[in-house]
């Protein structure tokens, strides 16, 4: 275990370095000039030049990057160009909202996905299976914006069951989490269905049935644990994705997550924030996968021998 962790740690650092380098080069290769964006229309050429110098943008790209890395190692993500505030402060302020939505969203999508996936697998080829799979397809392909607005209009604006916008109470998280859940559940349902079908065809399931176990016990105690591995891996990926922000859902529900920060920063060419959010997201993907890898052997002892 210790060797695995150490190996993963080194890998993770290299991945983060790679992400930092690629993002940095891509951002600075853009024709848009942050100094000019900041200076606005009325600024004289000299003002633009002064801003560029103060931000260090007149330095060669490599030295800018090394400077950034030097600060990064010390935990300093720099200051936002437009807001002038520490990027770490801006990200930290939005972290609780992002984590809450991530946890709630994943909970809903896994719950819905597993339930429907298992039901479909048990009714393979039947009408229920077809309905579930068709719904999953619709869920996967529905635009976030439409689903979010629809739920908001029905359950908040018309029925008034939930607040329309904002963050802070449990009631606020329901609709955004449902939106993410409905949209994501399709993937989980398909994954759970095919994994379950594989497992249900195995000999040990037949044995379990043959020795007279109840259908429920066969599915939940014997089949599900064997089918859940790909689901865990998928959760690991989702953690990273949600940590990078879910721009549309956040925007519709006024959810103060990282996505809104990133979106605004991209429009303003606020490179330190874009770098910060990208690295946070990359970091979360790495941690999510690491956790998934650590959990996998607990679920399936066969992995431990590898």
């Amino acid at each position: 275990m210790a060797t695995l962790l150490a190996k993963r740690l080194v890998q993770s650092c290299l991945i983060l370095l790679g992400v930092a380098a690629i993002t940095f080069v891509l951002l600075y290769a853009l024709p848009a000039d942050p100094a000019r964006m900041l200076a606005g229309r009325s600024a004289t050429a000299q003002t633009v030049e002064n801003i560029r110098r103060e931000l260090g943008l007149d330095q060669p790209l490599l030295s800018q990057f090394l400077h950034y890395l030097g600060n990064l190692v010390q935990g300093d993500l720099g200051r936002s160009y437009a807001q002038k505030t520490e990027v770490a402060t801006l990200i930290a302020a939005r972290l609780p909202a992002t984590l809450t939505l991530m946890a709630a969203g994943i909970f809903v999508e896994v719950l819905l996905g597993l339930t429907f996936g298992i039901v479909a697998a048990l009714n393979r080829g039947g009408a229920i299976d077809r309905i579930v799979m068709a719904s999953a397809f619709v869920g996967v392909s529905a635009p976030q914006f439409v689903v979010a607005l629809l739920l908001l209009y029905v359950f908040a604006a018309t029925l008034g069951w939930f607040p329309m916008s904002g963050y802070g109470t449990a009631a606020h998280v329901v609709l955004p989490a449902m939106t993410l859940g409905i949209l994501g559940a399709g993937w989980y349902a398909r994954m759970a269905r095919s994994a379950m079908i594989d497992v249900l065809n195995q000999d040990f399931i037949r044995t379990a049935r043959a020795k007279g176990l109840s259908g429920r016990r066969v599915v939940l105690r014997h089949a599900l644990p064997n089918a859940i591995l790909p689901i865990v891996a998928m959760i690991g990926i989702d953690i990273g994705q949600f940590m990078g922000g879910v721009v549309v859902v956040e925007a519709v529900y006024g959810w103060p997550g990282i996505g809104q920060l990133a979106w605004q920063a991209i429009q303003q060419v606020d490179i330190p924030i874009i770098m910060g959010v990208t690295l946070t997201s990359a970091f979360a993907i790495i941690v999510g996968n690491l956790v998934a890898d650590l959990i996998a052997p607990m679920i399936d002892p066969r992995i431990r021998s590898h």
């Binding site: 900041l38 002038k84 801006l90 302020a93 925007a251 529900y253 060419v269």
Partner: protein
């Protein structure tokens, strides 16, 4: 010997309130309101903030030597009690009001004004507004890093500030009224250690009480504000990250009082035609012109006949329809609200046949191929397509390149890069209501440089000289003459046709039925939302 224009505190206050009184709707005191925006507030540092959302908030958090009467473009002394302009226009002397305090309790003295303007100009502040103060002596030393101070600002005593200019600048009083001239306390700036934009301290009508990043800002009434009974509201909560469509739904339910981003195009007609629509929509003129730039350094737009032909080819009425009528067709550079706008000027009328004839005369009977740049957020690409169709009607095949704003700005500021740019989403909105603000950076020779905003790369030296002369007429007695001179400059520029002036777009704000006051304090020409003047009906 001196031109004197001294206004006592009382007359200034009366003047400031007069547009409201004229509406016979007496503002009620009290009330708490909720305002929404989609984007987070970037900064409330008055020397840095430069977008139309933070602009109104900074206006009310801070005070400046000069200000405008609410809802109008009329300059009045504000933090200054009076001022004098020397006959040569090179010295401005301001007397400060006595007893005005920052919200940290300290009285404002002349040294604070000097410190604040120096901070706005100092390159270390990274402020976009430094250039506005270019006429003050010592400006080059400060921006060039040779000095930390502006030698042109003197403070003979705590109540007096004297500005020495290196050249006459007729816009100087306007410059003293823009946000970049806001007065800040040095001790608060230093205590904030680089975060003054999140911890602002001023002497305006509002005080920032709380800021939850990414969620909301809470402003409260400054009980010590030096104008009596201003502001009218007790508390303003600004909620950010609010999608305009949702903000509108919340407004209809009474959860929101002002939807700052206005009404999304898709919803506009529905709201407008609803029974309460008329009372909810504030549709106000602003100092804005949307235009197409024709790059005078790119063939065939180097030929004035081609530029004139394009001017005749654009169906501007159709473009106003794309915007649901929230704009009017423009025929000149200045917007109608701007002093110097020429009502009699007709410009180039829409005439496809004449345009074709002119194009043939210029040697392009079969048209030519070119590129039209535009930003990529709705409705700009649709407007660019309309322009593309209009051009096709006279044989010009234009490829539309819809890009992110930063990339369009970069293309415009690169010599020989962008033949045509539709300015939508980046159109010029004046910083202050003076016609000169529509010239220098966007049409003057000084703006036709790499990274500049003179996207037609237009440089007419005769006109540049006349502009310089008009700007030197700083004697208030010559204001009318100066305005006429500027008006003529802009109509003469149209003979060279570096732009196609297309529309004057109005701003739309949605407000709840309980909000009172005339439209022009919700879309104030110098402030957008005027938090000092708006009120809740009793």
């Amino acid at each position: 010997m001196f031109n004197r224009w001294i206004l006592t505190t009382t007359t200034a206050a009366v003047l400031a309130l007069s547009p409201l009184l004229a509406h016979a709707e007496t503002p009620a005191q009290g009330g708490e309101i909720v305002v929404t925006y989609k984007d987070d507030i970037t900064t409330l540092d008055p020397h840095i903030g430069y977008d139309w959302v933070n602009w109104s908030m900074i206006k009310s958090l801070f005070s400046r030597l000069m200000d405008y009467e609410p809802g109008t473009a009329n300059l009045v002394p504000s933090l200054a009690e009076s001022f004098e302009v020397a006959p040569d226009g090179l010295t401005y002397t301001f007397k400060l009001r006595k007893g005005v305090k920052f919200t940290n309790g300290r009285e404002i003295v002349a040294g604070d004004v000097k410190y604040s303007i120096e901070r706005a100009v100092n390159p270390k502040t990274q402020g976009p507004g430094a250039g506005f103060f270019g006429a003050i002596k010592g400006f080059d030393d400060l921006t060039g890093g040779k000095s930390e101070l502006l030698s042109g600002i003197e403070t003979p005593d705590d109540q007096t500030v004297v500005f020495h200019l290196s050249r006459p600048d007729a816009t100087f009083l306007h410059v003293m009224a823009i946000n970049f001239a806001s007065v800040v306390p040095k001790e608060a700036v230093e205590a904030a250690a680089g975060d003054f934009g999140k911890k602002p301290v001023g002497s305006g009508s509002l005080v920032l009480k709380d800021w939850t990043i990414g969620q909301k800002l809470v402003f409260e009434r400054n009980p010590d504000y030096f104008v009596k009974d201003v502001p009218h509201v007790d508390k303003v909560t600004v909620e950010v990250g609010q999608e305009p469509l949702v903000a509108l739904l919340r407004l209809q339910k009474g959860e929101v009082d002002i939807a700052g981003d206005g009404i999304p195009p898709a919803k506009f007609l529905e709201i407008k035609n609803s029974p309460e629509g008329a009372a909810m929509i504030v549709d106000g003129e602003q100092l804005h012109t949307g235009y197409i730039t024709l790059n005078t350094k790119v063939k065939p737009f180097d030929d004035v006949k081609v530029r004139q032909a394009v001017n005749m080819a654009i169906n501007k009425e159709r473009i106003t329809r794309i915007l649901n009528g929230r704009a009017t067709a423009a025929n000149q550079i200045l917007p109608p609200l701007m002093p110097g706008y020429d009502k009699a000027f007709t410009g180039y009328a829409y005439d496809v046949e004449k345009a074709k004839a002119l194009l043939a005369e210029a040697g392009h009977p079969d048209g030519f191929e070119t590129v039209l740049y535009s930003t990529n957020t709705d409705p700009q690409p649709r407007i660019a397509q309309a322009i593309q169709q209009d051009l096709a009607a006279i044989g010009i095949k234009a490829e539309v390149r819809a890009l992110a704003q930063g990339n369009v700005i970069a293309a415009g500021g690169t010599e020989g890069e962008a033949p045509m740019i539709w300015s939508g989403g980046m159109g010029w909105i004046a910083d202050f209501p003076d016609p000169s603000n529509f010239y220098g950076p966007i049409l003057g020779c000084s703006g036709a440089v790499s990274g500049g905003w003179n996207w037609p790369w237009y440089c007419n030296e005769t006109i540049d000289k006349r502009a310089g002369e008009a700007d030197a007429m700083s004697d208030p007695a010559k204001a009318a003459e100066r305005q006429a001179a500027w008006g003529k400059i802009f109509t003469d520029v149209m003979a060279d046709a570096p732009w196609v002036p297309v529309i004057n777009e109005r701003r739309v704000v949605a407000k709840s039925l309980r909000m009172g006051g005339p439209d022009n304090i919700y879309i104030d020409p110098t402030r957008v939302i005027n938090y000092d003047a708006i009120f809740v009906k009793p």
